[in-house]
């Protein structure tokens, strides 16, 4: 039963309006950038409000793809994302499942050790030195291995596994299933929502990689898309203090439309994947595990 008093209805009207405004403001910059990327330089200069371009043009995209740089970056980003997500999910799920078994000795110590890393860490330099000592500097692996497991994701998965009914493991054991069997034949298939969601979290993180690339990569050939984007929009405007990893080929500041085109390219894959993400959040499949 809903409150139909005047006060309540005014509340609703204002609430809906404000929320719509918030949603609009959130999305407006993106629309502006996407629109600006599909128009010509003159159009953008004359009609600064491009939300829907009157003159459509692929000039910016043609320019951006005229050299190999962006394509190479896309390749790197896609590779790192796919392989990184697989590795991360493998390591995380395995460890999360192991830690979800209540009869495991030492479980609490290990969990504490994991949580502790969320509160305190060695810092940039010591981590850099460790990565260096493992010979990972200037390799693609440095974009994946040092960040393979995210403690937060690990905890979410562990909670999810813990919340699975005990009876399932019991009956599997009675049927003579070993621990590996239980994991792969029963637990994993039952955990697809959590696996899907956490995979997407990892995938987004890998796609957005840029700091680890700046830290560990020396060769600009290996740059992922985000670093290229930084190069083009942020560094080329001459406004950044740290020009490390600056590539000379981008010294002349590119046009506004070109910058927008690169932003779109850097953002697109996530936007494509986004609808799938939404489904799971709406279901709240994730939330049950967070509460645990």
């Amino acid at each position: 039963m809903h409150d139909k008093s005047l006060g309540s209805r005014v509340f609703d009207a204002v609430n809906y309006t404000l929320l719509a405004l918030v949603a609009l403001i959130t999305i407006l910059p993106f629309i502006h950038v996407v629109a600006g990327s599909f128009t010509t330089v003159q159009e953008l200069a004359e009609k600064q409000f491009v939300l829907i371009p009157t003159v459509w043009s692929l000039d910016a995209y043609r320019y951006v793809f005229s050299t190999n740089t962006l394509i190479r970056g896309l390749g790197v980003s896609i590779g790192v994302t796919v392989i990184g997500t697989l590795i991360s999910m493998f390591l995380t799920s395995l460890m999360a499942y192991g830690l979800s078994r209540r009869d495991l000795d030492g479980r609490r110590i290990i969990m504490f050790a994991v949580v502790f890393t969320m509160l305190f860490n060695g810092g940039m330099i010591p981590t850099f030195l460790v990565v260096k000592s493992m010979g990972l500097i200037d390799t693609y692996a440095s974009l994946i291995i040092p960040t393979a497991i995210n403690a937060f994701n690990l905890i979410i998965m562990r909670n999810f596994f813990q919340n699975l009914p005990d009876g399932i493991e019991e009956s599997a054991k009675i049927d003579g299933c070993g621990d590996w069997g239980i994991l792969f034949k029963i637990v994993i298939p039952l955990s697809m929502p959590a696996i899907a969601t956490i995979s997407l979290f990892y995938a987004v993180t890998y796609w957005n990689t840029y700091m680890t690339a700046i830290l560990y990569l020396n060769d600009s050939v290996k740059w992922p898309v985000q670093v290229i984007l930084r190069q083009i929009v942020i560094l080329a405007s001459g406004l950044s203090a740290d020009t490390s990893g600056m590539d000379d080929s981008f010294v002349t500041p590119p046009e506004q439309t070109v910058k927008m085109a690169v932003i779109v390219v850097a953002t697109l894959p996530i936007l494509l994947v986004y609808p799938f993400l939404q489904k799971h959040f709406a279901k709240g499949a994730l939330l049950g595990s967070i509460k645990g």
Binding site: S8, A45, L94, P126, F128, L129, T209, A241, D242, I263
Partner: protein, 317 residues
């Protein structure tokens, strides 16, 4: 004691001790599953903690940790004597406070607003849109900001000119750095931040609202007396986590915004560590700086956690 009794106790003791061993062997598959992850944490999380030792040394890469000379607290003394230190401290604290005052309430308010929406379709529509920025990298967020705020045909400046104002050089100015930073944080994270509050609100018993309505409570009073108290625990936990993060705030974010003009207000511990350490090669000194930051952060979390428990809430640990 008789012979059998002695034997029995001995057997019992032995089985008790090897009970642990037996369990480990029985669970060996599980331990194997944990092993790779454990190795990861040891190598990439705990080994660097050991590496913090170089904060007390004059570390030279070619000497390694075992070969580098010890300097005790010299680097820390230098840090506190450094004028930049207070600038950094001030910047970090100010940004943190701004974050707390301006960003922290936003997801809560948005969640309350969303919670009041009855039309599922509209609610989902808004949620879909406000989650988007969270998935964008900071590079994308800052790039879009640069494009919009640029002096050269950036849309915001064009708007200003149209309204009869002068163009503002947002990106290079000291005064605009903090507002710009906070707005970017809100834009990116506020929407996503609503998820956890909405989850808590979904658990509230609708009958509470019924009862309140019977008693004549309007919408605002219902929110104030029912919705908000019910999410108090969540708010406290998230506040704790935020405090633990205080010195961690947005390195990847600020690094992109930093330039020679706004260094006075923008430099924080992590950017300083990065510049002094990896750019200038002052490994030991910058590690000392980072060490200091991490320790203070840890202490703050512990204090916050203790305070929360005193207030009757659950802590993080």
């Amino acid at each position: 004691m008789s012979d059998t009794a002695v034997k029995n106790t001995t057997i019992a003791r032995r089985t008790g001790e090897s009970g642990l061993l037996k369990r480990i062997i029985k669970n060996r598959a599980i331990y194997l599953m944990i092993l790779p992850g454990l190795l990861f944490f040891i190598i990439f999380k705990y080994a660097p903690m050991y590496g913090l030792i170089i904060a007390f040394q004059d570390y030279k890469p070619y000497l390694g940790i075992s070969g580098s000379p010890w300097v005790g607290l010299a680097h820390f003394e230098r840090l506190f004597a450094e004028p930049m230190f207070f600038t950094i401290l001030r910047n970090t604290l100010l940004l943190f406070l701004m974050n707390l005052c301006f960003y922290f309430p936003v997801p809560i308010i948005l969640a309350v607003m969303l919670n009041e929406v009855r039309r599922e379709a509209f609610k989902r529509f808004v949620q879909t849109l406000i989650y988007v920025p969270h998935f964008m990298s900071w590079v994308i967020i800052v790039s879009i900001t640069f494009v919009m705020l640029s002096m050269d045909r950036g849309i915001i400046n064009e708007l200003l000119v149209m309204m009869g104002f002068e163009k503002i050089n947002f990106l290079l100015s000291n005064e605009w750095f903090r507002p710009m930073y906070i707005l970017q944080v809100i834009w990116r994270e506020a929407g996503w931040g609503t998820i956890i509050y909405l989850a808590a609100m979904a658990a509230i018993d609708p009958q509470l609202y019924e009862a309140a309505r019977m008693d004549g409570a309007g919408r605002f009073r219902q929110i104030w007396h029912i919705t908000l108290p019910s999410i108090r625990s969540v708010i406290v936990v998230l506040l704790l986590l935020k405090i633990g993060d205080v010195l961690e705030l947005g390195f990847e974010h600020i690094y992109l915004l930093l330039n020679s003009m706004n260094r006075e207000v923008a430099e924080i511990f992590d950017t300083y560590v990065y510049t002094a350490g990896l750019k200038q090669g002052q490994y030991s000194f910058s590690t000392a700086v980072g060490f200091f930051k991490s320790v203070v952060g840890l202490i703050l979390v512990m204090i916050a956690n203790w305070l929360a428990k005193k207030a009757g809430e659950e802590g993080i640990y």
